[in-house]
Symmetry: C2
Subunit: 236 residues, 2 copies
Amino acid sequence: MQSRREFAAASPYSSRMRILIADDHPLFRGALAQAVRTVAAGAQIEEVGSFDAALAELAAYPHTDLVLLDLHMPGSHGLMALATLRAEYPAVAVAMVSAHDDVTTVQRALVHGALGFISKRSSLDELQAALRTVLAAQTWVPPPLREDLSSHPPALAERHLAARLAALSPQQMRVLVLVADGLLNKQIADRLGVQERTIKAHLSAIFERLDVRNRTQASVLLRSLELADPAQRLDP
Amino acid sequence: MQSRREFAAASPYSSRMRILIADDHPLFRGALAQAVRTVAAGAQIEEVGSFDAALAELAAYPHTDLVLLDLHMPGSHGLMALATLRAEYPAVAVAMVSAHDDVTTVQRALVHGALGFISKRSSLDELQAALRTVLAAQTWVPPPLREDLSSHPPALAERHLAARLAALSPQQMRVLVLVADGLLNKQIADRLGVQERTIKAHLSAIFERLDVRNRTQASVLLRSLELADPAQRLDP
DNA sequence: CCACCTACTGGACGATCGTCCGATGCAGGA
DNA sequence: TCCTGCATCGGACGATCGTCCAGTAGGTGG
């Protein structure tokens, strides 16, 4: 799949590996951390429960080796979180973690730069195997899906979309995310601490790279990374 | 669930029932038509393979009694097709038909005005029971999901979204769809055969009813009806 | 009949958008 | 070192957006 930069397997001679676990389910997050400790004894593990917290953690420690990113958590709009993270930290490997492990979703995650896709329905053995694989900078997908994935290449439109989004610089991606929230240029400028003029310059570049004509079309492209959230029952 | 108008069960004394089957899979479409013929002998059945064709058919025969609408077909962006159809023909009952029958999707379809949800994985007996139910203007959902659906009410945000979108007039919905495609006001005006001034007036009303401030936020709302398409492999 | 909604249109106006020209400083790769 | 990309900013300008004021016409239901 397309990747901005090759991931390097963490060398045993280097400093301790740093692994960030981002999942809003504390129990599963803990189980994930325990599994990581089992397969990578010396790893330094951080746990967060929201996408914003994950971004903050990465901002503090940009040299993180691997992020285990839940597909559905507060602030992460499906694959938008993956794209944001890939734009901001191209050198950081990201493995998606989700129970929503249908072929198309896994395929989309890989196309958009995920190193692997770990199913939450994995057994402990499988989970550990998955972690060993991604820690060695190898792609992992749930075994039952491998045949389907290899026989059905991703849609051309999806790869095209991924290529266009991957062409954006980190700041451009930040601007695009805010545009897709419906903010005005002035508001985006204030949010990012720059002049409105700068936002306009970014937008012109964004439109050119995404091959669109206005902000609405650009946000449609980004929003297409949104996935239907299978667990959006906030109303008891 | 919310509905603009109550559906009336087709009276046996009235003229023949008119049923529109919209599904891009010819085989399943035929099977569906056969099942309809079995449970409603005298019904007049029309079959189309795209959402645009469905709209054209309804434009020609607005007095259709029931539409069996595939969730994933060319031109229908997930639940956007349902919303469009409900806005245009509030009196026409719509039953969604899909193999993508997870609880959340079914629930969203009902919230957005579907009379029922028929799973493509149904047996022939179940399919006929489902058709009899929706033809009697009763809600149908796949039996395995009924317990889940009754115990988990839909998200407040989803109902709020549905209420706002259902408040739009047919023409306003048409405008919104084109806005969400990134078209300029002038382009929308040309497409609908009116003045740009009129589009602006519609947009002001749309923004007020959707409680948003600009076209980008409005298109985000509409696009949230989009579902991840499980079968978007166009690339052999 | 009248109130109400829908659809369409007009003038005017400020706000916002997006692009054209240009510029600077900085970091990283060839 | 040179070159490219990134990020920032400026002026100017036309295009577009969105709202304020207003009006006409048709259909529907109480």
